[in-house]
Symmetry: C2
Subunit: 282 residues, 2 copies
């Protein structure tokens, strides 16, 4: 397959292939594992567009692959699904006791503070290294969209806004939208970026809406029964920023739905269609 990609597993799924790969990452200076779904359209030698999926706290590349049911619509629409891990991993990689910092909680940024700065360079990994690798080694073309859940929703929104032109569209399920002002984000940013709040604002989706000129289509869905909604998620802050700064944000609150993959599964087809539509016009 490739000198740089080690195939971990390969399973037939909806006429395509669900695969896991391992590789040595230059960005994170450790071995990284990711999953990718290649739809049937990628089998015929054609290069297909890719939706990058960023998972939430504690997840690996396998939660979305096994629980979201996204492959069905991806097979219909001819979209590859690229599902990276949520942090660097390994016995030599810095970690924390808490679930919301360290391994499984990389927050999709490049850490500047010791001990995190040695391996926690997830922004470089997701935005540059992984696409370059995939577009060289797999039947995946350079049209990209990005989505994610919770911490991964934060990642999808901020990476799309911070890197104009890298992604055609971005979406999120129950994202952390103002990490500079909410507990999960504050503790992670203090560790990874230091105590100076100015550094945090460049990784806060609601703040970025005020400063980023490049616009792209955004969709956000939030469950009304999500226990993290009032303290950690606060989608109203993102909606207010979008309105104030002229972003077209397609936001919907869904009564009763919680923070789980049952919520993601219920709406993933709509997100894939949203991205496929924008990718087709790109």
């Amino acid at each position: 397959m490739s000198a740089t990609l080690e195939l971990v597993s390969s399973q037939r799924c909806f006429g395509g292939w669900q695969r896991r790969f391992r590789h040595a990452s230059a960005s994170t200076r450790c071995e990284m594992t990711f999953s990718v779904y290649l739809p049937p359209q990628a089998q015929a030698g054609a290069r297909v567009p890719a939706l990058y999926w960023l998972s939430g706290l504690t997840c690996t590349d396998e939660n979305f692959s096994t629980k979201a049911g996204a492959q069905r619509a991806a097979a219909e629409l001819g979209l590859a699904l690229v599902i990276p891990d949520t942090s660097p991993r390994g016995a030599h990689v810095a970690d924390a006791e808490r679930y919301d910092l360290g391994q499984g909680a990389g927050f999709y940024l490049n850490a500047t503070q010791a001990p995190w700065s040695e391996h926690y360079r997830m922004e470089d990994y997701i935005v540059d290294e992984l696409p370059a690798l995939l577009e060289a080694e797999l039947p995946i073309g350079p049209l990209r969209a990005i989505s994610g859940h919770s911490m991964g929703g934060h990642g999808a929104l901020t990476l799309a806004m911070r890197h104009p032109g890298r992604y055609v569209s971005a979406s999120a399920f129950a994202p952390i939208v103002n990490p500079a002002d909410t507990p999960w984000g504050q503790q992670a940013f203090a560790a990874y970026l230091g105590e100076a709040r100015e550094a945090w604002l460049a990784h806060d989706a609601s703040q970025l809406m005020a400063t980023v000129a490049h616009r792209l289509p955004l969709r956000v869905d939030q469950g009304g029964g999500d226990s993290f909604l009032p303290e950690q998620l606060q989608p109203d802050v993102l909606c207010a920023a979008a309105k104030a700064h002229g972003w077209a944000l397609d936001y919907t609150l869904h009564p009763d739905y919680d923070h789980s993959y049952y919520f993601i599964a219920s709406l993933i087809e709509a997100h894939l269609r949203f991205h496929a539509g924008h990718l087709a016009r790109a």
Copy 2:
């Protein structure tokens, strides 16, 4: 909700509810946990038909709920999904070191041999106790279909054949079809039913085809890349029995697909439509 059913969790999913319940079972003389998906049609006071799903070795009621992606089609078709556990459970319940006997491996029969016979009465539980409970306590009517995977495919086929009229249709993914002649079945039947082979034949789908007069629609799908295919599964034996005894068996071999939930997810919609069609005509 109910004096007999304890609600463990309730999560919104595709406009319906994914729920877990715990209850004291008279059949298995222990506490049992099951999952049920109630589609939107069950919310309006209407009673909906139910597809019983029997899982494979080592599974609980949660594998199918989280990995099969069945709720989407169930919501469209107005089908409840009933997902029991695969055995009795508890510190006081007999168990074995091996993964294919004891807890997580009940084989959907009533054990006759000590120490298993005290709690391992899964046939009574699935066929009688659970439907009576659900049809009394939840918006689920008495029209039933049954499906399952691997050991649960064995359960679906044999319970449907052994209990004429209980199920409108039966289907299976990669089922154990001749347990009296294959290793998983032989070791389990020897423990649960004793060494006399005659007792085994009444729980062997391929054997039952010769003796059961009542016909019902059957569908079986098998992955061609399933590592258990040649030794444990042997679908050709079922196909030959169906042909010899005049059963209409809709059997398909799917190249490359393995024994995992990626295979189930790829075909679950087709199974739900198969059952919904027969339930609508019942």
